[in-house]
């Protein structure tokens, strides 16, 4: 939900969000981003190895949303991500938007564990995003 207050956009909310994330032991996470495919038949058939790059975003904070109910179930997590960090990577990778960055992300790695992105939401103030909230699910290997 965006704030429609008639005030000039400032970066104060982003700075406050970053400060809050750091103050609660904000850490860093890695996004495993695929390189743009050549869109050939071979890449669609899995014949050409996809290139990956690791994109570091910081500060981030993780919290568990739903524990696994039974063995084999995947726990759900929420990752709060600094919007300034995401924007820096969007600019560095020359992407259109943060959504493009997240759609190219195969997995999120934090503390050596891999997670899949289930959904992306954002918080805005003065029309500018100051925080991204990623709903993550543990990858299958970790749920066994």
């Amino acid at each position: 939900m965006s704030d429609t207050a008639a005030r000039s956009p400032v970066s104060a909310p982003q700075m406050i969000a970053d400060a809050l994330l750091r103050s609660v032991a904000g850490s860093s996470a890695q996004l495993r981003v695929t390189g743009a495919s050549s869109d050939s038949s071979q890449s669609e058939l899995g014949l050409i190895a996809t290139t990956f790059s690791e994109v570091v975003i910081s500060p981030v904070v993780m919290r568990k949303l739903r524990p696994a109910a039974k063995p084999g179930d995947a726990s759900q997590w929420e990752m709060l991500v600094s919007a300034t960090s995401v924007q820096a990577q969007v600019n560095a990778l020359d992407l259109q938007s943060a959504q493009a960055l997240f759609s190219m992300t195969l997995a999120v790695t934090m503390a050596g564990a891999d997670y899949l992105i289930e959904s992306v939401a954002s918080n805005e103030a003065f029309g500018k995003v100051y925080l991204y909230r990623l709903t993550l699910r543990e990858t299958f290997q970790q749920t066994l």
Partner: protein
């Protein structure tokens, strides 16, 4: 077997691009026809909407014939929540459109077998052919309706396969 699977997927992909060029999907930064091979893409938490997702299932082989014939079951799943312009109220129509497209891309029920693991792709001597698809009833999950059609795909094993 792999050549038959590759040929089947690429035949459907090419036909879909002709039948409905608007049905596309953005994968790894590339805009492609809206059909994916599940086992050649990254794992996802939820299948993408308005896209055909192919998944290979059961396998059988007839070795008593002069040339061994392999039968593979292909499940083609698709789901939709309708369009934003209609507030999702057209999801039934969207699913019907996908049913129609799937029937259309499965005709004619054969395609030449091609070896795509070499560059350039090498045509083989036999064809890949398939049965009529079966369409089980739809599954409704909140605002999303989905269906998984099944089709049996056959091919003869050629020398060197």
């Amino acid at each position: 077997m792999q050549n038959a699977k590759d040929s089947f997927y690429l035949a459907l992909r090419s036909r879909l691009a002709v039948i409905n060029p608007q049905r596309t999907v953005l994968v790894r930064g590339a805009l492609r026809p809206g059909i994916l091979l599940e086992d050649a893409e990254a794992p996802v938490a939820q299948p993408p909407a308005d896209v055909f997702v192919m998944h290979w299932g059961a396998l059988g082989a007839e070795t008593e014939l002069p040339s061994a014939m392999v039968a593979m079951e292909c499940e083609i799943s698709y789901c939709t929540s309708g369009t934003q312009a209609f507030g999702g109220l057209d999801r039934g129509r969207s699913l019907t459109a996908m049913d129609r497209e799937l029937i259309a891309i499965l005709r004619p029920p054969s395609t030449p077998k091609v070896n795509y693991s070499v560059q350039p792709a090498a045509p083989m001597q036999t064809q890949v052919f398939w049965d009529e698809p079966t369409f089980p009833s739809i599954t409704v999950q909140r605002d999303r309706v989905s269906r998984s059609a099944r089709v049996m795909v056959y091919s003869y094993q050629e020398q060197g396969e």
